[in-house]
């Protein structure tokens, strides 16, 4: 059954998503579906943030070095005390900027209206309060302070003990302790369903997907799907009877909708053939799109009509 392959493939796609979906209930009483960000997206976002941050700090350090070099060369004409004071100032600026950048980068961006750092924005995720309330500065501070202990201290500790144990100064037990520390927090998100890291638990936050969906065209206002619509190619108006429309349910309808929107001709041919065979029509060729648009609209009209009377048909099996 090759033709049904696209339908089967997209089904698993839909069901794969439901594992991470949750609902936030707004004060208006509307459940907004929210998808918990995948763990890989979060790791990716952190990597991107670190890349951006270290690149920026590297460029800043380079500029500072250039400045210091200039001061050093100028030292031949200036009195020595003055030169060292300037160099010291540059060092202080470097140290403070390094510390401030490290925390301010995450804090300022996650407190902004988007609730996400640059890396998170690129990957389409954001921080939100877990209880559906507001994301407060306290929460953002808490989750970012804990990141150090979760990732950076254990990694630094690991390298430190690795170096010492290679030099034979400490036993390998300390190295194991460092690795356990690192793994404990790194694997933490894998042991709860919302992929919370320790900082999220302390802060009462979670990271969710923040999709920016564009409004697609209305299906029944175009082509063969409109009221008086007919095929542009043949001028035929497809009409389906009660028996033909009762074969499929909502799941198939929405799969068909996505395929029509994607507009992949090969997939449309296959679906056209499957549907024709299922409803006992003779599959022709060349006018697949008009056929499917008409079928989609009439199936949806039927299912939506039933819906108003409280009758729903989830898929072709029900």
């Amino acid at each position: 059954m090759k033709p049904s392959a696209p339908l089967a493939a997209s089904r698993s796609y839909i069901e794969g998503e439901t594992k991470r979906s949750r609902a936030i209930v707004t004060p208006e009483g509307i459940a907004i579906p929210t998808v918990v960000a995948s763990r890989s997206a979060r790791v990716g976002a952190l990597m991107l943030d670190l890349l951006i941050l270290s690149l920026a700090l590297f460029v800043f350090d380079l500029l500072l070095d250039l400045l210091a070099g200039g001061v050093w060369r100028g030292a031949r004409t200036e009195p020595l005390g003055q030169t060292s004071a300037v160099l010291e100032l540059l060092y202080v600026i470097g140290a403070i900027v390094g510390f401030a950048a490290w925390y301010a980068y995450f804090l300022a961006q996650e407190l902004g209206p988007r609730g996400a750092t640059l890396g998170k924005r690129i990957l389409g995720i954001r921080v939100a309060a877990r209880n559906g309330g507001r994301l407060t500065p306290e929460a953002v501070i808490a989750r970012n302070l804990l990141r150090d202990v979760e990732i950076f201290y254990p990694i630094a500790f690991m390298f430190f003990t690795l170096r010492l144990s290679l030099m034979g100064e400490v036993s390998s037990g300390l190295l194991w302790a460092a690795m356990i520390w690192f793994l404990l927090f790194a694997l933490f998100p894998f042991f709860n369903k919302d992929a919370l890291r320790a900082g999220d638990i302390i802060a009462g936050t979670w990271v969710v997907e923040a999709p920016k969906t564009k409004l697609a065209d209305a299906m029944s206002a175009q082509g063969a799907a409109t009221i008086e619509g007919s095929s542009e190619l043949t001028g035929v108006r497809y009409q389906f009877g009660e028996a033909e429309l009762s074969v499929y349910g909502e799941h198939e309808l929405q799969t068909l909708e996505r395929m029509l929107r994607d507009g992949n001709d090969e997939a449309l041919f296959a679906v056209h053939e499957t549907i024709c065979r299922k409803i006992g029509w003779d599959p022709g060729a060349g006018d697949e799109r008009a056929f499917l648009e008409a079928f989609y609209t009439q199936l949806r009209a039927r299912l939506e009509n039933d819906m108003r009377f409280g009758k729903r048909k989830a898929d072709k099996f029900s």
């Binding site: 936030i24 060292s84 510390f99 209880n131 808490a142 029944s220 409109t226």
Partner: protein, 369 residues
């Protein structure tokens, strides 16, 4: 089917409903698509306002749009609940879900900006958070005193303990049996003033790091936080013994107190903050574990922001006055002044939370899974 009509006319009332409504509403075959085409203009306007707010906060949104925002948000939210019952158009449902979520983040977004929050933080928020941690502060203080006494007693009992507590490279000659002169020299002022600000900067990043660690280790039920406090204070106790044994205890006190009152207070607070989280996780009371942890975590985070500020002050004190001010009495005065300042700021300043009622309401919004 009355609700959507009312909302549609509400949108028209605000004047922008017909903004970009497509002309072919009548040609749409499906009732649900006509429903959507009629409201599309409002949705797009909301999307536009939300996008502008996301880019630059409220500055990019004019008054007219800002007034319309709550109405547009409710329109979209009610469109979503109607569409869920009447439409099978997956793309439109997904769009509305995304739009309502984005608008919700903006409508129920932070009430005040960072500057407003910081003002509240300095004018009472910080003290409030510290006061809320009073029990943890008492425990941490007890542990710190006990740690210092233990360190002193251990070295008093057997000098060898000193070398176990203190890394010899760190001690820089401050070891048991050192002569009074050499110990006195370590307490003296610097003759050379250059290099002190660099010293302050490195002190700050080091101390702030230790404090953040003491806080974050509270996650493991607070025990590592306490251990860190004991270890640091035992070191101090050992140092006191070394100086006390040659009669320099009073001078050492001055040398330490000038910045130590601020620094040790900061360490005390960060240990207490860590302990607060650990304690709330071990004994969550009637709240769920996650709720208790996050409530404690947010309180502790406020304290920690304050600790970072205290560490900046402490590093400045350590680098400049300590190295430049001679005479134990002057040093005690400076240190004592800061101790009095912190204690009165934290425990005498009592400002009630400005909008606790609104905050409680916001917390009442639940999450369904």
């Amino acid at each position: 089917m009355k609700a959507p009509k009312v909302i549609g006319s509400l949108g028209a009332f605000f004047g922008r409903a017909a903004l970009s409504a497509p002309a072919d509403i009548e040609s749409a075959a499906l009732r649900s698509d006509r429903f959507r085409l009629e409201r599309e203009g409002d949705w797009r306007r909301l999307e536009d306002i939300v996008a502008r707010m996301e880019r630059g906060g409220l500055r990019r949104v004019d008054d007219e749009d800002l007034l319309a925002l709550p109405t547009l948000y409710r329109t979209a939210a009610s469109s979503l609940s109607v569409a869920r019952e009447t439409s099978l158009d997956l793309a439109t449902l997904r769009y509305l879900e995304g739009l309502v979520q984005r608008a919700w983040f903006q409508v129920y977004g932070p009430r005040k900006g960072m500057s407003g929050w910081l003002r509240d933080f300095f004018l009472g928020g910080w003290s409030r958070a510290v006061q809320a941690l009073w029990l943890d502060i008492c425990i941490a203080l007890f542990v710190m005193v006990a740690g210092a006494v233990t360190g002193w007693a251990l070295v008093n009992h057997d000098r060898e303990w000193f070398y176990r507590l203190v890394d010899e490279r760190m001690a820089q000659g401050r070891v048991p049996g050192a002569s009074r002169e050499s110990l006195e020299a370590t307490l003296a002022v610097e003759q050379e003033t250059s290099g002190l600000s660099a010293f302050a900067a490195s002190l700050f990043s080091n101390n702030a790091g230790v404090c953040i660690m003491a806080f974050a280790l509270g996650f493991a039920f607070g025990i590592p936080s306490l251990l860190l406090l004991v270890q640091n204070m035992a070191l101090l106790g050992a140092l006191v013994w070394v100086f006390g044994s040659v009669g320099l205890g009073y001078q050492l006190g001055g040398w330490l107190s000038i910045h130590g009152t601020t620094e040790l207070f900061g360490i005390l607070l960060s240990g207490a903050a860590g302990l607060h989280i650990g304690r709330s996780m071990a004994f969550p009371g009637t709240a769920s574990l996650l709720d208790a942890a996050s409530a404690a975590g947010r309180r502790a985070a406020v304290v920690m922001l304050g600790v970072v500020i205290m560490m900046i002050v402490a590093a400045l004190l350590e680098a400049f006055p300590r190295q430049l001010v001679e005479g134990a009495m002057d040093r005690y005065l400076i240190g004592g002044f800061f101790l009095v300042f912190w204690v009165s700021y934290f425990f005498l300043l009592r400002v009630p939370e400005p909008d606790s009622h609104a905050a409680r309401n916001a917390d009442a919004i639940g999450v369904e899974t």
